[in-house]
């Protein structure tokens, strides 16, 4: 088998993030010959999800990345003809900064954790459970910072020892797994603590607070699928529509977000948003229930009742809510948890529109308007890549591109030169913006996203089921600051190990991620520690592990701000800060229409069950619209049954 890449394509796509992947699928589906490349060893770029060890390697890569200087351009210079010029692409990714890791879980490494009742008496346990920053994160973040400020300089002191540390710990622990470590159970009985822990549910079998150690997290590392961007799918949103329309939905499974939460006066509460929720709510009084229902029903067709809001179009939504006879807690719910708007900047009309959108998405698939993909957001770009491949797209990860080759006369890009020095020709080039060089981007201003990823030992709002998927908006303390979006995932989303929760925090940055988010983390969680536990602190979930980082947000950058890009080079941006995926889908569709104005964007493919081959091995015949409708029904039926057979098989 020839392992060299073919050299003639219609479209070359560089980067496997969501917009690039949708575009690749759309191009391939419409019959274009597509080559889809990524310089990384994984799909998704900044849209990827990682196992725990994968995430540690990702962190390490970002550090090592900082030691690589820009290489000379000589490598490709002599491959360019006189009538051409080259546009260098960037060799190192600079979209991630200020990474800081904190480990709170016990890092007991001698493997003497056993199923025993008196772990607390073990002095080494107590000693090792104090706050540890295993990665020497202060030093790390400083380095990342200095790199950011002067990105051309190679940091003076290389820190290979530091860099290696995290993975080394991981490796040691993984090795331990094979030395009779397996016998230990997750649920360590812990009588003393159960007594003081408030038991919320009336259950004859009192829940035990689990003790999860760092070694367990490492050992169960492949159970984690940790998203770099935390997003959800609006059930009436563009991405859901596209997934269903294109049949890409068959490659993924989803779960409904089960709860919308609010944070008010230091407490986490569940927001009743459907009619059933409102009626079943124990927190709301009868009067409140009536008020809320009345208001929400109005919002669903507020356009029909202009007299209800016309006088308030100049007001902010929060002022408008005050006039609607809603109690303060209901106003809070509607503003922050349903409309998900900020207090100061949102107008009445915007608020009503957002509330209506929320309510319309409600109940399509379940009790909240959001869906989460099993195994994480990183699955979604991969699903589109699979679609592209099924229609003949060629995939190659770990493949770097040195430069774009531009024909001087026509000003059009005609080829790329890859890291092997091979020239690959195409008509159109789609490039994710992190691949563009500093020179190309010198006029570009970026926003930043602050992110935190936490592994915790229980949900921020305990209920009888520990399998909840929740979203919480924490309003800013100071006016003008950004609200923080918190998404809490349970193990049945296949993104974290049993008896843990994976928590994502997101906001647009004003400072470093830790500075932006730490105060919210402190409000909601308590660091894992054995000592000095009082009742109030214990009611909070405990933090086992935390990662902070900043991700570049290029979603607002316009194409015209790049220097000297040929017209047939199309730029895709990285993830935006928003909750949904609308930006990426819109971008992909807009670019596709620009490149192929007469082609349909991601039409449904023929159903495999309806594809017949004759003896001559012809291509499947095109199917009529009717067949495709049936096909969709059938494939959905199939997935249902696939599920049920799977239920038998697993566990």
């Amino acid at each position: 088998m020839d392992n060299r890449l073919p050299t003639e394509f219609d479209v070359v796509v560089i980067g496997t993030g969501l917009p690039e992947s949708i575009l690749a699928a759309a191009c391939s589906r419409s019959g274009q010959r597509v080559l889809h490349l990524d310089s990384r060893s994984y799909y998704g770029g900044n849209w990827a999800s990682f196992s725990f060890s994968g995430l540690l390697s990702w962190l390490k890569e970002y550090q090592q990345n900082s030691d690589i200087g820009e290489e000379s351009t000589a490598a490709w210079q002599d491959m360019i003809h006189e009538t051409e010029e080259g546009i260098t692409l960037r060799k190192k990714d600079e979209t991630i900064q200020h990474t800081e890791v904190f480990c709170y879980a016990s890092q007991d490494m001698d493997g003497n954790i056993e199923e025993t009742d008196d772990l607390q008496k073990n002095p080494s346990w107590v000693a090792s459970s104090t706050l540890i920053k295993p990665l020497d994160s202060a030093c790390l973040s400083e380095e990342m910072h200095s790199l950011y400020v002067s990105s051309n300089e190679v940091p003076a002191k290389g820190t290979p020892e530091n860099n290696g540390e995290v993975t080394d710990i991981a490796e040691t622990l993984v090795k331990e797994e094979y030395c009779g470590y397996k016998t230990y159970k997750h649920r360590v009985s812990d009588g003393a603590k159960d007594e003081i822990k408030p038991i919320l549910e009336d259950n004859s079998d009192p829940p035990k607070r689990n003790r999860i150690t760092y070694s367990q997290i490492v050992e169960e590392g492949r159970r984690f699928n940790i998203d770099l961007v935390s997003k959800l799918l609006y059930s009436q949103g563009l991405l859901i529509d596209l997934l269903i329309k294109s049949n890409v939905s068959r490659y993924a499974e989803f779960k409904n977000v089960t709860r919308i939460l609010a944070f008010r006066e230091g407490k986490v509460e569940q927001v009743p948003c459907s009619r059933a929720d409102v009626f079943n709510s124990k927190e709301l009084t009868m009067v409140e229930k009536r008020m809320l229902m009345k208001f929400l029903t109005f919002c669903l067709d507020y356009e029909q009742h202009p007299d209800e809001y016309q006088a308030f179009t100049q007001c902010s939504f929060s002022e408008y809510l005050k006039t609607k006879k809603l109690t303060p807690s209901l106003q809070h719910f509607v503003l922050h948890s349903i409309a998900m708007m900020s207090e100061s900047s949102c107008t009445t009309i915007e608020g009503l529109k957002a509330t209506k959108n929320f309510l319309q998405c409600l109940g399509k698939f379940g009790n909240t308007p959001f869906l989460f993909p099993l195994y994480g957001q990183g699955e979604i770009p991969q699903c589109f890549c699979r679609m592209c491949a099924v229609f003949g797209g060629i995939y190659c990860l770990r493949h770097k591109v040195q430069c774009l080759v531009v024909d001087k006369e026509s000003g059009r890009c005609k080829a790329i030169i890859d890291h092997l020095g091979q020239r690959i020709n195409a008509k159109y080039f789609i490039v994710e913006d992190s691949y563009l060089s500093e020179e190309t981007c010198s006029n570009v201003q970026y926003e930043q996203i602050s992110r935190a990823v936490l592994i915790t030992d229980q949900s921020i709002l305990k209920t009888d089921s520990d399998q909840q998927i929740s979203i919480l908006i924490v309003p800013p303390v100071e006016p003008g600051a950004c609200a923080v979006r918190v998404t809490e995932l349970c193990s049945s989303t296949m993104t974290c190990m049993k008896d843990t929760c994976l928590v994502h925090l997101t906001c647009s940055s004003s400072k470093t991620a830790r500075e932006d988010l730490e105060s919210v983390v402190k409000k909601l969680f308590t660091p894992y520690a054995e000592t000095e536990i009082d009742k109030e602190e214990l009611a909070k979930p405990r933090l086992l592990w935390a990662l902070y980082f900043n991700m570049r947000d290029s979603s607002g950058v316009s194409r015209s701000s790049y220097n000297g890009l040929p017209s047939n080079v199309y730029v895709c941006t990285g993830p935006d800060c928003g909750l949904g995926n609308e930006h990426a889908v819109k971008q992909a569709e807009t670019l596709f229409k620009e490149i192929f104005p007469s082609e349909e964007f991601c039409p449904p493919p023929p159903n495999p069950e309806d594809v017949f081959f004759d003896g001559d091995d012809k291509q499947p015949e095109p199917l009529g619209a009717n067949t495709i409708i049936i096909a969709q029904l059938e494939s959905s039926e199939g997935s249902k049954n696939l599920e049920s057979s799977e239920k038998h098989l697993q566990n």
Binding site: R250, K255, R275, L300, L374, Q382, A389, P608, G638, E646
Partner: protein, 203 residues
Amino acid sequence: MSMEDYDFLFKIVLIGNAGVGKTCLVRRFTQGLFPPGQGATIGVDFMIKTVEINGEKVKLQIWDTAGQERFRSITQSYYRSANALILTYDITCEESFRCLPEWLREIEQYASNKVITVLVGNKIDLAERREVSQQRAEEFSEAQDMYYLETSAKESDNVEKLFLDLACRLISEARQNTLVNNVSSPLPGEGKSISYLTCCNFN
């Protein structure tokens, strides 16, 4: 056509180096064809064949790599929710056998713990060019706790047997698990496919 015209449905996923005959195995089994020198199958995601085993209709949904294995770029999502994996190598190609541990690592990382893996040495019609002895493959599959079979998609040797045996094992495993497993905690893969979910709006 009835929607419920089968008793079981299983997702079977093929992996292995490019050119070992994965697509030929699927084509031979699902359509009885052997297309010599065929290129990648454009536009076909998976193939379906319904077989009857001991009076029960078993629908097999067989997924191919869509060529992503050529440059070692298979998406992780390809492995998700597979009930069985067919790991294929070419008995006339030492290299395709040497790559097996690498494939096993991918399986371990991305596939479900419960997945059944079958090792298949294909192209036994080219026995005179054999590079991988049966004994070596047997030893390897035993060490890895895999079921092992040699096939020829061209001559149709063992192809039916491969899929039918696999279907039998999947059924018996499914049965065992229903017996052992009462309805309890949420299971992996219980998420829903979005096109299936129904509508019921607020109000």
